[in-house]
Amino acid sequence: MAAEPTTRELRELVAEYEFERGHLLPALIEIQEHYGYVSREAIEVLARQLRTTPALIYGAVSFYADFRTEPPPEREISWCSGPACRLRGGDRIREALQRTLDLPLDGQSEDGAYGLRLGQCNGTCSEAPQVWVDGEVVGGLTVAGAVALAREVKGDA
């Protein structure tokens, strides 16, 4: 993942996308894969490239849950919001995670060291209740386990 994107880099990254319908989402996904987020600058560059307005692009960025407008945290707990997890204490796990990390869902610490994200069920419900820590499943979680995990991610453990 690269650092602060420069305008030139950004232009190169999106150069192959054209003013053709069907290119917006793939372009945004590519930007996010490259930089970890979609910066203001990136929105402007992409608007020029696709010959549309930054407003239209920002509209899409804000519509989809997956896009970030600031760099992702170094470590992240993604909480499964799905039903199987909910039935096994998932919502109490969410409360405990939020309190321990002192963050709302989709929030991150000021220094960018850790964050908490709302995740969607991907059909690994046999692991319920679960979270993903930096993309890795941690299943069969208890609330106490979630507190311990959050403390560890936060660096308090």
Binding site: G22, G82, G89, E95, G119, C121, S126, G139, V143
Partner: protein, 620 residues
Amino acid sequence: MNDRFTAIATEARDRWEAARASGREQVSLCLDTSSLARGGAETLAALQQAVAAKGLNVDIQTTGSWGFCWLEPTVSVRSAAGTRTVLYHSLTPDRVEEFVQSVLVEAGELPELALGVVEGAPSDQVGMLDDHPFMQGQIRRLMANCGQIDPENIDHYLANGGYEGFVKSLDMEPEAIIELMLESGLGGRGGAGFPAGRKWDFLRNATAEPRYLVCNADEGDPGAWVNRILMEGDPHLIIEGMLIAAMATNSVEGYIYIRHEYPLSIERMNVAVEQARERGLLGEDILGSGKTFDLVVFVGAGSYVCGEETGLINSIDGYRGMPRIRPPFPAQAGLWNLPTNVNNVETYANAPLVLRHGAAWWSGVSDDEAKGTKMFTISGAVNQPGCVEIPFGLSVRELLEKYGAGTPDGVPLKGYQPGGPLSGVLSAEEADLPLTLAPFRDRGLFLGSGGIVFFDETTSVVDLCTYFLGFAEDESCGRCTTCFQGTQRAVEILRRIGSGGGRESDLDKFEDLIQTMTWSNCLHGSFAMTTVKLALRYFREEFETLIREKRDPTRSLPGMITYEVTSPGDPALPEAAAICPTEAIVEAGSSYDIVDELCIRCGACAEVAPDAVTVRDRFV
């Protein structure tokens, strides 16, 4: 038959046969998302390492899922002579060494991990896989290849009858293909069950060109993963189905819209599209027929309403994925405002089976009015969360008891949600309903896309409603006030009821919302209140108890309970105090107290000190 295809298929079959006659043992590890969640990647690495280190005469391949999701990683071992294949379960990385030693080195069997014999004769200790309780009664047509072939190798698909249905359709008039689909009775698998043949006919009759196909692989219903099983287990089946639809409708291009939560599905569909193109099965002049059709794998970015077909079209078009106002319907104005057909993954996946085996064979699987087999995933309060394929018509209870192995710890079933957040909840008394379209339609809901979530007596129905309405609120696209404000209002009232502030008039307010929200533009808004509507029908007393007695019979709603230290000297209390995320557990003399104002009712203390902490009703 198309000569070019015969050549391609023959070569593929030769390679497949050669690999199977190699005189080497074949180990096939299921590597799907569920397996990965249970250490599948590490298992694979450990297997490869052990086989290399010991210089074993073994080929290792990866496959999709058999549906035993709760027992992943599953792995099958086919003997060197090719006479016997046994399927094992729970091959977690720590068990690989023992497994390699006893099964591969000593050429024995591990009965304690065996699910059954796939090919060959049963032994005293290992029965046939088909006789395994989880497999009995399942009819695996869509899933025939799942677990058995490498989804990233088109040879495997071709060697097992793959693309033969498409090749048949190449020689058919569009009308004849559609006639066949209508005859089969194939209904859409994405929720509403609309006849696929009729939808294709709309597109065939469209006036504008070019025409497009869309495969809806957004699978946004939490608790549903049937589309994922197909994409990760047999991606070519979906491509073949889309090719057939393209021949029936004269479409030139197709989009497979996959949610970003499914990276492995995205990868496997991309590999499959690439391989199909290499073999001349996609692109221009397919198999020398002069027909053109190509596919794009399109990745979503996190939005439930993008599963609604017009939201999905907007999303590909490059706008916010807001459901459109219909008409015009996609068959008139879809992608780039050109005629478009949208079907679910499983709908397309059935088409090759109809073409290959005929409509009568396909629909003859049961005498239910809904034709063909249906895949279901079961989760929630079940002992065995997994994926099955059965004919329509089996009862919900059978699904739970037979395949889900009942509810955990024998807690009685309270109810279930048949298909996604918009489909509502039904009580356990309705568990004898057959899994087919009509009984659910009669009760004002959809059977849905196949994700069935069971819940037991420990679950509060108000909590469920809060969850599903909260989901609908989060995911509303914001176009209709009825939907985005209606869901918000419903959540507010539900939260109030769930924390002891319920009012008698709230139930009337729900009735108001149920009525008002039906006037929303798309089903997301108009069906969002189904959960509350049905919860009021089946579980009204629970709402009334909460409102009138301020008591939660399940003692699970955070707003209705308190935690109390009831066994002061318990040695686990210091640990409970340490784990409490809000420091609500404080030392008081020789024991501990819970400061109610600080307590967030997370229950961590009760897990750590179950004998010392008691949950009590807050208001009674």
